[in-house]
Amino acid sequence: MTTTRSKPDTDMPSSKEKNNIWVFGDYRNYFRNRVTLQLISRARELAEKTGAKVCAVVFGHDLDEYVNEYIAHGAQIVYVMDDPSLKSYNVESYVHLMADLAGKYMPDILLIGATSFGREFAPRVAKRLSTGLTADCVGLEINDEKLLVQTAPAFGGNLLAKIITPNHKPQMATVRPGTFTEQPHDDTCTGEIVRVLLPESDNMPKNRIRVISSEYQPQRDKKLEDAAVVVCGGRGMGSKKKFKKLFDLARLTDGETGATRPVVYARWAGHETLVGQAGKNIRPQILFSFGISGAIQHTAAVNDSDFIIAVNKNPNAAMMKIADVAIVADANQFCSALIRELRKRLRD
């Protein structure tokens, strides 16, 4: 059964509340971004090796819905600070509250989703706690010394680094959404909800950043980042007219169309299709890449694709080297043939 208790923020934690694994509850984009649930799931696996409890920590207002979700997805304790004054996401106050709470409870590990918010929030918390932080981890393990081994990419994913924080607590990491898989929702899961009261307002920092306006702008083109199939084209497609075929292919495969910078500059496709350092990161199950040379500013953003099929007339293009299947052909001709064949195989 899920139990609830309240405690003032000055209350000291019991020993079983120490050395746990904490996951920051980043609920702002909950329905589109389940990174908190993914982290809770991974934390449970890590906890099996350290014997810790998995706790979610959440700040805001009207949070019951999220709190229950966290429990249904594996959180054993949820620390909640629920107050009207915390209604809007604010880095400064959230940093203050997290640093304060973590300073007291001394979690062994603190995991934060690598959302834009998380990427600004986490380093500040780490600085307040004078501890180490690894960004954008793609892997988390517990080693024989019971330390968190954090795998993080460098050089646009061309290199991976294994990093530990041996002598400081908490060991902190941000993790990209989609790296781990959430546990299925289970209503029979139980947990403990601890409502921590907000510190006296005198003890809260004065916000130095004023939010003048904050509008939710769901990006239609967000689809590109989440698409299971991306059809990406470069200068090698030859012309705007020929490039249009890629939109057809994308439609046929229920995918999205992406483009390189020269394509966007030439207005063969809109800016929202730009894939790369100056545009979107993609991680489809299949990436079709047509007439793209494979400059690092582009490949850095496609490295996470599960399977890459590249078509280029130059077998030595960098894009062909990172592809799973490298097809030496005229991009435009191959695209037409592929569309024809797909239509046939999809018919009825």
């Binding site: 990427r119 600004e120 600085k127 460098a154 990093i163 299971a228 229920d254 399977f307 299947v325 191959f334």
Partner: protein
């Protein structure tokens, strides 16, 4: 006069990085250096402010002696002077320690700064942590991923898109921003600018002793994180190369990878259609 400080980092020029094709590893020691792309956007944003207001721009970098190059480049683009923090004892610092060292530098060398500008992440270690941690160290207002700035008196108005929220923010100076790479496209470095930068010689080299910082608090030894291992991801990738007639290759693609394609597009695909067709 508004005092701007831009923190920049020299990173290896990855697109031209020499790869060891046998082992798939990066030969970093052979790489050429360049200004980290995001830092260049930060510098550009400072230069735009300078066009509209009376500003003085100091660029600071921490790195090996060769990192002086990026300061010359920054001055050629329009910065006024540079500081190179260089000391073998500073090497290997993680973001916590880097931000602390930068903070000590700004506090002693540019104590009357108004705005600090940083790139939003680096292309080599890719953390994006130094900017926010620097703001914490200096105990000033800070905002990340800024795409647009407008200065009215001592108030800086900023725009950014974070997690699908379009935000307009304000802070009173002094403060810190990290600049996103979507706007403030960096200007080209004029060749004569580079010449002038070398002649101007407005670059100070500072080591830990001159900075007056305790050597125990800098570099790898002081850093809470430890790198155990750096490796290039072992790809089970086969890199199958196909050559020949287009139609044959399309068929082969479906024969060998049809399942994968079908799973990704979430639809069933007929198999061996081409055989039927031929008969």
């Amino acid at each position: 006069m508004l005092k701007l400080v831009v923190c920049i980092k020299q990173v290896p020029m990855v697109s031209e990085l020499p790869w060891n094709s046998k082992t798939g590893t990066l030969r970093r020691e052979m790489a050429e250096g360049m200004i980290n792309p995001a830092c260049k956007h930060a510098l550009e944003s400072a230069l735009v402010l300078k066009q509209e207001h009376n500003c003085h721009i100091t660029v600071i970098t921490m790195g090996p002696p060769m990192a002086e190059e990026v300061l010359y480049e920054a001055i050629a683009m329009g910065a006024d002077c540079g500081i190179l923090l260089t000391d073998p004892r500073m090497a290997g610092a993680d973001t916590l320690i880097t931000s602390r060292t930068l903070a000590a530098t700004i506090e002693t060398r540019c104590p009357d700064f108004d705005l600090i500008l940083c790139g939003c992440h680096t292309s080599d270690s890719e953390t994006g942590q130094v900017g926010p941690q620097l703001a914490e160290n200096m105990n000033i207002a800070g905002a990340a991923y800024i795409e647009h700035m407008e200065l009215n008196g001592r108030t800086l108005r900023m725009k950014r898109v974070v997690d699908e929220f379009l935000e307009t923010l304000e802070m009173d100076l002094p403060g810190l921003v990290t600049i996103n790479t979507r706007t403030y496209i960096p200007r080209y470095v004029p060749l004569d600018g580079l010449q002038n930068a070398f002649e101007k010689q407005d670059i100070k080299l500072i080591d830990a002793d001159e900075l007056g910082i305790d050597p125990k608090t800098i570099g790898m030894k002081a850093s809470p994180t430890r790198i155990l291992d750096v490796y290039s991801p072992v790809e089970e990738k086969k890199n199958v190369v196909m050559k020949g007639a287009v139609k044959k290759m399309v068929d082969r693609l479906f024969d060998e990878y049809g399942d994968r394609i079908s799973a990704a597009i979430g639809k069933d695909l007929k198999t061996h259609d081409h055989d039927e067709e031929q008969t």
